[in-house]
Subunit: 218 residues, 4 copies
């Protein structure tokens, strides 16, 4: 087992993800991280070449699997109906973000600031995402599954829904008692998104898969 070998590195990463998520990147000090990880401060620079390296790895750890989910679905675009694939991707993204809600919150928040790091690392990921999603909706429209909604607005709308509960986790919990890290929540939230897809995105002649009532019984 290399568990022991990599443990320090991983302990730092875990602490960093938690603290960046909680207090923000700039609001977290390297000492905070190292002391939470029960590890010497110098190890942060040793393993990650500095605090910024930690953030960069956070981005990677989020976007790499995130894009993989989308890519997996894109590959099947010529074989299956776009709306079904879209729902599959959404389900997987919600599950991923729910299981890595600390990571998700921190990344979704940090990509929001105008820093060189953010721009350099994230822009390539986001451009890739844009490419995939655009392709995806175009295929769906070609297939006659989606109504000709402007793609940019559809994507923006979709991304709003996917990120909001996670970036605003504190709000969700304290104001609405909804727990984004809980499977119960994501299941119901999935249905809520599905309804938006059915009612707004899908052409009216496409069968609506799930009845409204499914998420009503709060």
């Amino acid at each position: 087992m290399n568990k022991v070998v990599s443990s320090t590195r991983e302990k730092i990463m875990t602490a960093a993800i938690y603290l960046f998520n909680t207090k923000g990147y700039h609001g977290t000090s390297v000492r905070d991280i190292s002391s939470r990880a029960n590890v010497n401060v110098a190890n942060v620079s040793y393993y990650f070449k500095g605090k910024q390296g930690l953030l960069e790895e956070c981005f990677t750890r989020f976007f790499e699997p995130y894009l993989l989910i989308i890519e997996k679905v894109i590959k099947k675009i010529d074989e299956e109906r776009a709306d079904r694939l879209l729902l599959e991707a959404i389900k997987n993204i919600l599950t991923f973000q729910s299981q890595h809600h600390h990571l998700s919150r921190l990344v979704l928040r940090e990509i929001t600031v105008d820093s060189q790091v953010t721009r350099e690392i994230c822009s390539s990921y986001l451009m890739k995402e844009r490419y995939y999603l655009k392709l995806f909706f175009e295929k769906g429209i070609q297939q006659g599954v989606f109504s000709p909604f402007p793609i940019s607005f559809a994507v923006v709308h979709l991304k709003s829904l996917l990120s909001m509960p996670f970036i605003n986790k504190q709000y969700m919990e304290e104001v609405w008692n909804l727990y984004p890290h809980d499977k119960l929540f994501t299941d119901r939230y999935f249905l809520s998104i599905q309804m938006w897809i059915n009612k707004v995105l899908l052409k009216s002649n496409i069968v609506h898969q799930e009845p409204l009532s499914a998420i009503v019984n709060q």
Copy 2:
């Protein structure tokens, strides 16, 4: 005129809003602010009792007018149809946020971190907002205008849509060439939200006010 009197204070505030919006609260130093405002550093403490005071005023400057918009609409809830009032509120919020996009971005981002300040100041605003919105949707359901969608999910969905373009301004501009600070954008974006309301929130026997085509001509 108190223009001269208050000018230093206002110059600081403007600089702070811009920099918090751009680099985040913790990523901005008091010296950044004072030098951007062409003002002595000590004035920040003098006028705002420290850096934190600046952030607190930012929250106030955002939430005070924001809640006013909602309150104004709430007062008319017994006289007018809920969906029309909702659209009115959305329109006004979008306009407000568009006109104060720096302030909006910074507030929407900072309420995302778990700090004592944020919690103490914002939670009361957000609880108020929750109260109003809940009341609002309940009335709408009573009126038979809204279908019995779970209110929490409706609010979350609505808030996603209202905040996403502003908190992710950089993404909107660089990836989709959409400019949230531009009236052209908010007008089209308003229609996009309206469609969601019509198709998802409204009972099906309620007349859809705007045809899909309105926002299609991208």
Copy 3:
């Protein structure tokens, strides 16, 4: 008097010159300096924009007066005999270096390392010096005062003599009991240089001004 105003800055500079001279630039820490100057550490960055700023000011404080001495002499080159002017310059340089022996030692040592700072700041000074000295010896040869010694070697030889006792102050004191900061030493050392000039540089038909015996009585 602005003595009080500038005292902190000057106290730092004095401490820095002493310590750089003693332990070398890299061997001296900012805390060493600030504590020797009885001043808060942060003031170093406040007044000099960092440790490197201190070194840069050291270079300036050395080279500015040093070149002034040479320039003053150069201006008289068309009116007076080159050898007399050369002796005047040497006398003044020795006096200056003797009175600022800490500064001189540190500068003469630090220009010896290959750092970007050193190169950028000093090279312009040294090129100026080269220009003046070359001009100077050319004129002297034209005047028929200097024999046609290769100028580069003459300059190198001269600079050796001018800098050696100061950069090797410790050696001078401990090995030879010669005290470069003492006027008695520089006076005798001046005669020693003069002899080299008379015997080696001057054409043999030029009268030797000082007899050998002058520096013999050690």
Copy 4:
């Protein structure tokens, strides 16, 4: 062959000499050295008992052969004319320093700082050197070869000439396009020193061995 056995040790030494020469002792880190030597960091402590051990070995590697050159000449003092022996020593020192210009520059610079290490290690070497050189000049004066120049000043002058081009290698190259590591330079530089000896040190009735013209053809 012990080539493999000692290769790590030697690789470290070579890297250290180069880096100390370039960036100074304190300006060089152990990691700089180990990475330039393509060797693990811990080996530095293993082979040299720490960074300081490296410097100490540098001093040894310089002074040991340096003093040997002088000793070799001293042994012949009763058999041959002092001026000829002096020239022999100078020639050999220049050659040695030219062939080990990295080592020479670093040592000549580091003996310039007031550190305990420097003092302890170098002072004995320098005292030995003083002893030899003093003896040497005394014999020369006895022999009636040298004029009664004060010995301390003669030694200082000589040492200036011997060290200056090497400690100021960068200056020599960039300002005067003279290359102290090149045999062409040392040959000409030797003549330049010889002229100083002939004209200044030697009694006038001693024959001047080399005419001025020898180094004129730059």
